[in-house]
C-alpha cells in the first residue's frame, strides 16, 4: 500500500456501528488514499480542452483541492456506520418539547423525489412550472385557512427566518403609516429566536414576565405598552405548554396602542382546526412546517417557515408570490412588497411535503392530530405527578413542562441527568433547561404520533428514573444517572474542551493519539 497507508482507516470494518461494538468511527479523511475514486461523469463528446486552455493562468488553482479520495464502497460503509450512531424519529420517540418531532410519512419523501417536481429549475417560467405553482398556491391557501389569515409567503426557510420576515412586515406596516416605533414586546419565556429576530428587525425587545398561572402577566404587559411599541411576539400555547386564555384581551391591549400581534407558530400543533391565530387577533403568523406539518427535520433542517398575514398586510408580503392567474398559475409581486427573502421560492421540496401531509390528513385529520397531541401530553403530564414538580399545575396543551428542582435538591440528580438516563431507557431526552423561567425544567412533547403504549412507557421510564434517584439518595449510594448514558455510542462529552480547544475541522486536529 502506498504512502502512509498504515495510518489509514479500513473502510470495511464495522466496529464503529453500535451493532458491532463501540469503536469510534474515523473521519472520511482518514479513509482517503491518493487516486481512489467513486466518481464517474457523463460522456459528453465535447472537445477535451485543458484547464490551462480554459482558465486564465492568474485564476488557475495551483494545488489540487484536497477532498477525500475513497471508493464508493468505503463512502457507503462510512456514512452507513455514521447513521447507526444517530437517534431518529424512525428509531423511537423524540419527546423534545417545542420541537414537535412527529413521525414523517414516507410517502412525502417519495413525493419529494418525483422527477416531475425534483428536477424543475427555479427559473423555469410559469408555463413550464404549473404543477409547482399549483402546489404552492394550494399550500398557501390551506395555511391561510388553518391560521385564519388572508395570504402568506412561502419563502422563509425556517421558523427564525419567518420571524424576521414577520418583523420586517411589522416595520414596513408602521413605516407606511409614517410611524417609527422602536420596541417589540417578548415574553420572558420566549424561544431565543424571538428576541434575536426582534433585534435583527431593528427593534429593541422588551420583556414581559409570566404570572403565577404561567401566562403573560397582563399588568406587566400594560406597563410596557405604549405608542413606541410596534407589536408583540407571542406563541399560544406558550412555551410552558399553556394556552394564553386571555389572548383576546391581550390582542385588544396591543391593538389599542397601535401595535401588531405576531404569532410564533412553533406551537401550532395542538390548535389545528380548534382555534386559529387569526381569530385570536394575531396579524402575522409563521408556521414551522418541519414541526406541525411533519416535514422531516433532517438533523437540523431543512425546514420551512411560511409567514401568513391578515388582509391589511397582504400588499407588503415578499415577492414574487405564486398566484392564481385565470385557470392557471403565475407569479406576482405585491405592490408594497418588502422584497425577496430567499434566493428563489423557499424550500420548495419541503413545502411539497407539507402540502402532501395536509392532503393526507384533511381538515378533520388535522383536528384529530391536534386533539391527540393534547391528549397525549396531558396523560403523560398526569402520570408524572409526584415524581417531578409541576410549576404550574393546570391542564396543558401539546407539551408539558415539569421541573426536577425538588429531585435535584433531594438527590443531586438534575434535569440533565434525567435526560441522559432516559437515553439509556431507549428514548430521546426531552428538552431541558428551556423555558428558562422554570428551574431544572423538562419540557416534554410526546406528539400525536406516539401510541398510548409509547407514552405510557415513556412516563414509566421518567417516573422510575426519579424513583431510582430517590432510592439511591436514601441509601446514600452513587447515582447511576450521573454516569448516564452508558449504553450509547459515546458517553458524556467534554464540552468545555470542545469550546476551549476549538477543533472545528479535521485540519485543525492534532495528529490523533489513537
Amino acid at each position: 500500500m502506498t504512502g502512509d497507508a498504515s495510518r489509514r482507516a479500513p473502510g470495511g470494518r464495522a466496529a464503529s456501528a453500535p451493532l458491532m461494538g463501540k469503536a469510534t468511527e474515523p473521519t472520511i479523511f482518514e479513509y482517503s488514499a491518493p487516486g481512489r475514486r467513486a466518481w464517474s461523469l457523463r460522456t459528453t463528446g465535447l472537445p477535451e480542452w485543458s484547464a490551462e486552455e480554459l482558465v486564465p493562468a492568474a485564476h488557475l488553482r495551483a494545488e489540487p483541492l484536497a477532498l477525500p479520495e475513497v471508493a464508493e464502497r468505503d463512502l457507503v460503509g462510512h456514512f452507513t456506520r455514521l447513521s447507526h450512531r444517530q437517534y431518529s424519529v424512525d428509531l423511537g420517540a423524540y419527546p423534545l418539547g417545542s420541537c414537535t418531532m412527529k413521525y414523517n410519512p414516507k410517502v412525502c419523501d417519495e413525493a419529494a423525489s418525483l422527477a416531475a417536481f425534483r428536477d424543475v429549475h427555479p427559473a423555469t417560467p410559469p408555463v413550464g412550472a404549473q404543477g409547482w405553482l399549483q402546489v404552492l398556491v394550494e399550500l398557501e391557501e390551506a395555511l391561510c385557512e388553518i391560521t385564519g389569515m388572508a395570504a402568506a409567503t412561502l419563502q422563509p426557510a425556517a421558523g427564525a427566518a419567518g420571524e424576521l420576515t414577520g418583523l420586517l412586515l411589522m416595520r414596513a406596516w408602521h413605516e407606511l403609516a409614517g410611524e417609527r416605533r422602536t420596541r417589540v414586546v417578548v415574553p420572558e419565556s420566549a424561544h431565543g429566536t424571538n428576541p434575536a429576530s426582534v433585534t435583527l428587525g431593528g427593534y429593541t425587545p422588551v420583556t414581559v414576565g409570566t404570572d403565577a398561572r404561567g401566562l403573560v402577566d397582563r399588568a406587566a404587559l400594560a406597563a410596557v405598552l405604549g405608542p413606541d411599541v410596534a407589536g408583540i411576539v407571542l406563541t399560544n400555547p406558550n412555551t410552558l405548554g399553556l394556552f394564553e386564555e386571555e389572548i383576546l384581551e391581550i390582542a385588544q391591549m396591543v391593538h389599542d396602542v397601535g401595535g401588531l400581534l405576531y404569532y410564533d407558530g412553533a406551537n401550532l400543533n395542538p390548535i389545528l382546526g380548534v382555534v386559529r391565530p387569526g381569530d385570536m387577533g394575531f396579524d402575522i403568523v409563521h408556521l414551522n412546517l418541519h414541526k406541525t406539518f411533519a416535514t422531516p427535520h433532517g438533523g437540523g433542517g431543512p425546514g420551512a417557515g411560511p409567514v401568513a398575514v391578515s388582509q391589511r398586510l397582504v400588499d407588503l408580503l415578499p415577492g414574487p408570490r405564486p398566484v392564481r392567474v385565470g385557470d392557471g398559475y403565475g407569479f406576482a409581486t405585491p405592490p408594497r412588497s418588502i422584497g425577496r427573502i430567499h434566493s428563489f421560492h423557499g424550500n420548495a421540496l419541503v413545502l411539497l411535503r407539507a402540502w402532501c401531509y395536509i392532503k393526507l390528513n384533511g381538515g378533520e385529520g388535522l383536528r384529530r392530530v391536534a386533539q391527540v397531541s393534547v391528549l397525549n401530553a396531558n396523560w403523560l403530564h398526569e402520570k408524572l405527578r409526584g415524581a417531578y414538580d409541576f410549576p404550574f399545575d393546570r391542564p396543558v396543551m401539546h407539551e408539558c413542562v415539569v421541573s426536577a428542582a425538588s429531585l435535584k435538591r433531594e438527590t443531586g440528580v438534575r434535569a440533565l441527568d434525567v435526560a441522559k438516563r432516559l437515553l439509556e431507557e431507549g428514548f430521546h431526552a426531552p428538552t431541558v433547561y428551556f423555558p428558562l423561567v422554570v428551574e431544572e425544567s423538562l419540557m416534554i412533547e410526546p406528539t400525536e404520533t406516539e401510541s398510548p403504549e409509547t407514552v405510557a412507557a415513556l412516563a414509566e421510564a421518567l417516573v422510575s428514573i426519579a424513583a431510582e434517584a430517590r432510592a439511591h439518595a436514601a441509601a446514600g449510594e452513587h447515582q447511576p444517572a450521573h454516569d448516564a448514558p452508558r449504553t450509547t455510542p459515546v458517553g458524556r462529552l467534554d464540552e468545555t474542551r470542545a469550546a476551549r480547544k476549538l477543533v472545528a475541522t479535521f485540519d485543525a486536529r492534532e495528529r490523533p493519539a489513537d
Binding site: A38, W49, L54, L67, G131, V275, G300, R340, L375
Partner: protein, 446 residues
C-alpha cells in the same frame, strides 16, 4: 382516519377516562368559546394512493428532463447526483433526526457536519466553516452582518456581479438592520473597483466567478476593501472552486456561497445550502451552528456543537444571528457528494463545465445576431444578447424542450447587461445537446 395518529377510539376513551374528561373537546376548556372552531374548511383526508395519483397529474404540469433540457443557472445548477448520494443522504437516521441536542446519540449527524465543515473550509481556503445556512442569499446577509458588527460601519459596497436576487434579499434584511447597500458597477463584465469612492465601509462584496460567469480580480477586491477599512466578502461558486483559486488566498474575511450544486436537485429552488466560512478571528461572531471535536468520559473521540454562546438560544437578543434550524441534511448531502467526487472528481466537474461553457458560448455566438454581453473570460456561465427579448427566447425554446437560461433584468436596469440572457452549461450537457440547443436557438430568434 388518522393513519398517522395511532390512537383508536377505545384508546382515546381510556385516556380521557384517566384524565376525568368526557370528550376531546374538554381538553380545550381553556380556549375562549367565542373563537373555538367546529373544524376547518379543508377537504377530507385522502388515501396515499389517491395522493400519488394527484401528484402524477399535477406533476405533469412541470417540464423536466427532455421537456426542458437545462441551460439555466443563476445559482441553481443541473449537476450530476449519483444514486449513492441519494441512498446515503436518504437514510432515515439522518432524515428524521432533530438538531443534535443530545450528542451521545447524535454522533452520526455531528460527525458528518464536522466533515462538511472541513470540506467547506478547504473549498474556501479559510480555516472555519459553519454547519450551514439557509441558502446563498442568507449566507451573504449573515456575512454582511458579521462585517458590520466587526468593522462598525453599516455601509456595504456590493458588486453588480453578485447574484441580483441575493442582493435583493440583502436589501430586504437591511430594512431591519439599517445597513446601506451601495452598488459597484461592472465594466466589461467585471467589477470596477476603482469606482468606489474613498471613505469607510463595512464590507466589499464580490462574486467569484460572478453572476455572468466572469472571473473577478480578487486581489483588486481586497485592495478596495482595505482602502475602506472593510471586510472582503466573496461569494464563491463551489464547483468552479475545483479549478480556481480559493478566495482564502486573497485575505478574504468571509466566503459565502450557494451549495445546491453539491449533490442537491434543482427542486424548484430549495432546499438549498448556504455555505459560510471565515477567518479564525471571526469565529465568535460566526452565525449558525459549529461542530467541534472533543472526547467523551472514556476519552473516545466525539463531536458536539460548540461555542454555543454565540447562538440565539443562549445570547437571545445579543446573538450574532437568529438562525436556529438550518440546512443540516443538505450539508450532510454536500459532504457525501464531495466524498463521492474527491479531489479529481470536483476538478473534472469544474473543467467539464468550463468546456461546455466555451463550446456552447461559441455555438451561440456563431448564430447571426447573437452577441456576447462581455468578453471577460467565463468558466461557469455566460451572457449573450440577441435581437429578441430574453423572456421570449426562453418561452419559445421551452416549447422546443430547452430551458434556455435566465433573462437579465432585475439588478441590471439601465446597464449594458440588461436584456441579456444568462446561459449555464454543466458537465451533464453533451455536445449533441448543446448543438441541438444552438440550432433551436437560431430558429427561435430568426
Amino acid at each position: 382516519m388518522g393513519n398517522f395518529v395511532p390512537h383508536t377510539d377505545a384508546d382515546i376513551a381510556a385516556m380521557l377516562e384517566f384524565l376525568g374528561l368526557a370528550s376531546l373537546d374538554e381538553l380545550y376548556a381553556v380556549v375562549p368559546a367565542a373563537i373555538r372552531l367546529a373544524g376547518l374548511d379543508l377537504p377530507g383526508e385522502i388515501a396515499e394512493a389517491d395522493l400519488v395519483a394527484e401528484l402524477d397529474a399535477i406533476g405533469a404540469g412541470n417540464r423536466v428532463g427532455s421537456r426542458a433540457l437545462c441551460f439555466a443557472g443563476g445559482g441553481a445548477y443541473d449537476h450530476e447526483v449519483p444514486a449513492v448520494v441519494r441512498a446515503l443522504a436518504g437514510r432515515s437516521e439522518f432524515v428524521t433526526a432533530y438538531t443534535p441536542y443530545q450528542p451521545e446519540v447524535a454522533q452520526g449527524v455531528l460527525q458528518a457536519l464536522f466533515e462538511y465543515q472541513t470540506m467547506v473550509a478547504r473549498l474556501s481556503g479559510l480555516p472555519i466553516a459553519n454547519a450551514s445556512l439557509y441558502d446563498g442569499s442568507a449566507a451573504l446577509v449573515e456575512a454582511t452582518n458579521l462585517a458590520v458588527a466587526t468593522t462598525g460601519s453599516p455601509l456595504i459596497w456590493c458588486s453588480q456581479g453578485v447574484n441580483p436576487r441575493w442582493v435583493e434579499v440583502l436589501r430586504t434584511f437591511a430594512r431591519g438592520s439599517g445597513h446601506a447597500i451601495a452598488t459597484i458597477g461592472l465594466a466589461g463584465g467585471v467589477t470596477s473597483f476603482d469606482q468606489v469612492p474613498a471613505g469607510r465601509a463595512g464590507a466589499v462584496v464580490v462574486a467569484y466567478p460572478n453572476y455572468l460567469g466572469a472571473l473577478e480580480d480578487l486581489a483588486a477586491a481586497r485592495a478596495a476593501a482595505d482602502r475602506l477599512g472593510a471586510h472582503l466578502i466573496v461569494c464563491q461558486d463551489p464547483i468552479a472552486a475545483g479549478i480556481l483559486h480559493s478566495p482564502g488566498q486573497f485575505g478574504t474575511d468571509v466566503v459565502c456561497g450557494e451549495g445546491q450544486a453539491l449533490g442537491n436537485p434543482l427542486g424548484f429552488g430549495g432546499p438549498y445550502l448556504g455555505l459560510f466560512s471565515c477567518r479564525a478571528e471571526h469565529v465568535r461572531r460566526l452565525p449558525g451552528r459549529l461542530v467541534g471535536e472533543t472526547v467523551d468520559v472514556a476519552g473516545r473521540r466525539a463531536y458536539v456543537t460548540t461555542l454555543r454562546a454565540r447562538e440565539q438560544d443562549i445570547r437571545r437578543e445579543k446573538a450574532s444571528s437568529n438562525v436556529c434550524t438550518n440546512q443540516t441534511l443538505i450539508a450532510v448531502t454536500a459532504a457525501i457528494q464531495l466524498g463521492w467526487l474527491g479531489t479529481e472528481g470536483l476538478r473534472q466537474v469544474a473543467l467539464r463545465c468550463a468546456r461546455g461553457t466555451r463550446y456552447c458560448r461559441a455555438a451561440l455566438l456563431s448564430i447571426p445576431g447573437v452577441e456576447p454581453v462581455s468578453e471577460a473570460p467565463v468558466v461557469r456561465e455566460f451572457a449573450v444578447r440577441a435581437p429578441l427579448a430574453p423572456e421570449l427566447i426562453v418561452e419559445r425554446l421551452l416549447e422546443k424542450g430547452f430551458l434556455a437560461g435566465i433573462p437579465l433584468r432585475e439588478g441590471f436596469e439601465g446597464t449594458d447587461v440588461e436584456g441579456g440572457l444568462l446561459v449555464a452549461v454543466t458537465e451533464r450537457r453533451t455536445a449533441a445537446e448543446i448543438d441541438g440547443f444552438a440550432a433551436a436557438f437560431a430558429e427561435v430568434i430568426r
